[in-house]
């Protein structure tokens, strides 16, 4: 198997310990996120996805268990934990609210500035991050409160990318965007991963996005690790996913039905583009 970027060993998170409201958000999770790959995290609402996200960059300390980045415990001392935040970037759900600077460019540079980089380096990183997220020069000069919702989302994501983290965790980065904006943002993130070799962890409710962009999938159910594997492994066992109140991509469902009706012989199709190709070639074969 490939190298591990960040690993969780028997991690348990409980909220409100010692009160009647004690709740286990994550229960004994052990997983190694493959380095340089995109791992998608899926799970029903309340399955612990967002808790897992804030664990990875050290904002939350697990009640039990160890989290290691490149084999070092991220909670080994306080100073080290503070530095982890630059190495593991975290983009929250609806991150637009974190914008505050006078211009978009300055806001993107906020993280790098906190890292103590030189102004020249900050400018270079801002430009690079803006390019990945598809922000043009005019937007960079505008106030973050004047631009459109989609642009705000890009600016917020660029603000985390500018820190050039080795691991980038994104909680629903495309939620509430139009299809074109969604594609641009997720495409830009894939490009970032390929150019820098960093590890991406993508939390999403959209099985289509996960199927299209991820290499591996982690399935959470009620705070427990339900399944982990490649996209093919996870989506080929549709029945198991239904148990976790989850779904397979719609195109996969279509192919399962087509197979039942003997129109095609494949059901391992997870993206629309690939599905179309398969279908066309199968139909052509039949004509002959």
């Amino acid at each position: 198997m490939t190298d591990k970027a960040i690993t969780l060993e028997n991690v348990t998170v409980k909220y409100g310990i010692g009160t009647p409201f004690e709740k286990t958000a994550l229960d004994n999770i052990s997983i190694a996120f493959p380095k340089g790959k995109i791992t998608g995290i899926i799970g029903h609402t309340g399955s612990g996805k967002s808790t897992l996200a804030i664990l990875l960059n050290g904002l939350l300390k697990p009640s039990e268990g160890v989290i290691r980045l490149e084999n070092e415990d991220i909670h080994k001392d306080k100073e080290f934990t503070n530095k982890i935040r630059f190495r593991v970037g975290l983009v929250f759900q609806y991150p637009e609210y974190q914008l505050f600077e006078e211009t978009v460019a300055r806001d993107i540079g906020f993280g790098p500035r906190n890292m103590g980089l030189t102004e020249a380096e900050i400018a270079a990183r801002t430009a690079k991050a803006a390019k990945f997220c598809g922000l043009d020069d005019d937007t960079l000069k505008a106030s973050p409160f004047e631009i459109s919702g989609g642009q705000k989302r890009r600016a917020a994501i660029a603000g985390v990318i500018a820190m050039e983290p080795e691991v980038l965790v994104l909680d629903e980065p495309a939620a509430g965007l139009d299809p074109a904006g969604k594609e641009e943002i997720l495409g830009g993130l894939t490009l970032y991963k390929e150019k820098t070799g960093s590890t991406l962890i993508l939390i999403s409710h959209s099985m289509e996005d996960i199927a299209r962009y991820s290499d591996y999938i982690l399935v959470l159910k009620e705070g427990k690790m339900f399944d982990f594997g490649t996209v093919e492994e996870i989506f080929s066992s549709a029945d198991k996913l239904f148990q976790a109140s989850l779904d397979v991509p719609q195109i996969t469902k279509l192919f399962i039905e087509l197979k039942k009706r003997s129109i095609t012989c494949r059901s391992d199709i997870y993206t629309v583009g690939y599905g179309a190709k398969v279908l066309i070639s199968e139909l052509k074969n039949k004509e002959r």
């Binding site: 804030i54 630059f86 970037g89 929250f92 974190q98 993280g111």
Partner: protein, 272 residues
């Protein structure tokens, strides 16, 4: 950390205090606070303590929750006690050590002042904030103050503002938490550096918070206008409060207690 704030905390229940009409509760509270402040003699003060205890029992509020509401006052309580203990002069000196002189009157005063403050807080908490839902409270306040309308005080608008403010406290607390986490993820640290650096670290939190609060205000105003809100004039209510017999009885009992405390002011407990 921010989640510990307990402003306007209401604990639902079904006790006499919960059922009493909010307007009556406000008047009863004023009566009660007057008698707490008016009690001068030790006998009158005992009566105040007793009535506070009775109210506390009636409200069925958990003692631990109540202690939490007194906790922020700890500093003021200790300060009051110390000042009274060392600076009140009387006739019988109990202790004289260098420049420290403690009199019996000082001790009595210190104990009374501290208990008086506790009674004020506990009384307000159990009579009003813990047993009245914020909506009932502002509604009651609006009605109690409604005579002020005749001298052109916008009573309805004030109470609407209060209702909205109370409603948005939890929302803003949650939002602050979210913004703090997001900025921490971008490397802000609030617990290092000098004072100036720490104050500057607040800017990335305050600006988004104000921005979203103002945006919310606009959205709320629009939503209210869409439902044809146009101020208090001619507005009717879905739930019209009905005054019950028990409301009057409660009020008269409290008035009687208040008068009683005034009368007891001329008696002292002989052995103190």
């Amino acid at each position: 950390m921010i989640k510990d704030i307990t402003i306007g905390q209401f604990f639902p229940g079904d006790t006499l205090l919960h059922r009493t009409d909010p307007r009556f509760k406000i008047i009863i509270l004023i009566t009660f606070l007057t008698s707490v402040l008016a009690a001068k003699s030790t006998v009158a003060f005992m009566a105040v303590l007793c009535s506070t205890l009775i109210l506390l029992v009636l409200s069925e509020i958990n003692l631990r929750i109540l202690l939490k509401s007194v906790k922020p006052l700890l500093f003021i309580l200790i300060f009051t006690a110390v000042i009274n203990l060392f600076f009140v002069k009387g006739e019988s000196m109990l202790l004289h050590w260098h420049f420290i002189k403690i009199y019996k009157e000082g001790i009595v005063n210190a104990v009374m002042m501290v208990l008086r403050l506790v009674c004020l807080v506990v009384g307000t908490s159990v009579l009003l904030s813990y047993t009245t839902s914020p909506l009932d409270m502002t509604d009651g306040l609006e009605r109690v103050l409604s005579p002020l309308k005749y001298i052109k005080v916008p009573v309805h608008e004030f109470s609407m503002m209060m209702t909205i403010a109370l409603r948005f406290i939890p929302t803003l607390v949650e939002e602050t938490d979210k913004i703090i986490s997001a900025q921490k993820a971008r490397g802000v640290s609030f617990d290092t550096g000098g004072l100036l650096k720490r104050v500057r670290a607040l800017i990335p939190i305050l600006i988004p918070l104000f921005y979203s609060a103002i945006r919310r205000a606009y959205e709320l105003a629009e939503a209210m206008e869409c439902r044809l809100y146009r101020g208090g004039e001619g507005r009717t209510r879905m739930k019209v409060p009905h005054v019950k017999g028990s409301d009057y009885i409660f009020l008269f009992v409290m008035l009687a207690v208040c008068v009683g405390i005034f009368l007891l002011n001329s008696y002292e407990v002989p052995f103190i």
